[in-house]
């Protein structure tokens, strides 16, 4: 099964935003192989959360680790049956380790959609 995490420009840290993250890291839970994919939503005028969610859903992902998520993307993931978990820090490895130990909690920080204009 695959796990997805939004990552920032460094490609090594967790990104604060999911919808506008520049990349997603897709981790094969069985082989631990990591792949980086571009987030097509970064250029989106609106509906970034949905476009981002679509690109992740298309990767056969079974779980998402993220610090937060917009309502639209969350709705899309829910419809796809993909659970969201709260990352513990900026470190990808720390969150992955916690996930594997079953220590991560379900994501609480689901913010109202800013109509695709999110990002701090």
């Amino acid at each position: 099964m695959n796990i997805a995490i939004p990552v920032d420009e460094t490609k090594t840290n967790v990104c604060a935003s999911l919808g506008r993250a520049p990349y997603f890291m897709i981790i094969n839970a069985n082989t631990s192989e990591k792949t980086i994919i571009d987030n097509p939503a970064i250029a989106a005028s609106g509906g970034a959360g949905i476009k981002a969610a679509q690109s992740v859903i298309d990767q056969n992902v079974k779980a998402i680790l993220t610090p937060r998520c917009g309502m639209n993307a969350a709705e899309a993931f829910k419809a796809a049956g993909i659970p969201l978990y709260q990352t513990v820090s900026e470190s990808i490895d720390q969150s992955l380790e916690a996930f594997n130990k079953g220590e991560l909690i379900e994501l609480q920080n689901i913010h109202p959609g800013f109509h695709g204009r999110g990002g701090k």
Partner: protein, 289 residues
């Protein structure tokens, strides 16, 4: 890093005057003007270096290649935005085109393409450690939300260790205001004691609530109508909204703006009141969980 947004609902209440004053009081090193439709903040902040300018592109707009057009009229028939008209040739009005691409998809002759469309200009003033991000939306343009997000994103180039970012917002409750609210720790609403001001304040508060944004309120030109000023304070108390102060009407505000300066440069009643409001706002920002 805390982000403070200054908005108003009704226009002309004094957002930019307050924002400029706060920037000076905080000695802020990262600030932005998100009123991309009518940016004014740069007029009262003395920028020493010219800005870097970049074009901002919105959704691509349809363009008809008359050489390939077979004059079937299908594009005009289907366009929901009345953006296509016929006068010797079929043409697209870029002000009306919303970029849905239906015409491109239904054209039997392949005569329609979606072309990049500059919808505004982004400006970034960088001066030593200070970063000031602003933009101007082109006339008649829509979808200003993404431009606002871009203006805020550019503040990330800020390397300052200063814990406060100040955003001067826009009037209204639509697109640019909603976009400016994203990721904000506190939205300070500058209102005025008038029936219009109060009506607009309530709609803005409803909008902020919808997006889960914490708000605080101050009343500018408070002495023009004492009864209504009190009504605003009472409303805030009844609805658990932080009220941070009154600013009396002060002609110095106009003088300051016309000299391209912040009102803090003039030591009058308004300047004093703004300093007090600034302190209370900072306390709210840094002392709440």
């Amino acid at each position: 890093m805390k982000q403070l947004l200054i908005i108003s609902g009704k226009g002309g209440t004094g957002k930019t005057t307050v924002a400029a004053a706060f920037i000076e009081l905080a000695k802020a090193e990262a600030y932005a003007d998100c009123d991309v439709d009518a940016p004014n903040l740069h007029l009262v902040l003395q920028q020493r270096t010219p800005p870097h300018s970049d074009d901002y592109y919105g959704l691509p707009k349809a363009q008809i290649n008359t050489a390939l057009c077979s004059h079937c009229g299908i594009c005009m028939e289907n366009c929901r935005f009345e953006a296509i008209s016929y006068q010797d040739n079929y043409q697209v009005d870029p002000y009306l085109c919303e970029g849905c691409a239906l015409c491109q998809n239904t054209c039997p002759s392949g005569a329609i393409t979606m072309e990049p469309s500059a919808a505004g200009k982004l400006k970034l003033y960088v001066d030593n450690k200070t970063v000031f991000s602003t933009a101007k939306l082109n006339m008649g343009s829509g979808n200003s939300g993404k431009l606002v997000s871009e203006v805020k994103n550019r503040l990330k180039t800020n390397v300052s260790t200063q814990p406060l970012t100040i955003i001067d917002g826009s009037p209204g409750i639509g697109c640019p205001v909603i976009a400016s609210m994203s990721g904000v720790d506190l939205a300070l609403i500058v209102t005025e004691p008038s029936v219009s001001g109060i009506s607009d304040l309530k709609r803005l508060l409803a909008t902020a609530r919808q997006f889960g944004v914490t708000t605080a309120v101050c009343v500018n030109k408070s002495d023009i109508n004492q009864k209504l000023s009190k009504e605003i304070i009472d409303y805030c108390q009844q609805n658990d909204i932080s009220f941070v102060g009154n600013i009396p009407f002060d002609q110095a505000a106009v003088t300051a703006v016309n000299m391209g300066k912040s009102i803090i440069a003039f030591d009058g009643a308004a300047a004093q009141a703004i300093k007090t409001i600034y302190q209370r706002t900072i306390n709210l920002l840094f002392n709440t969980k």
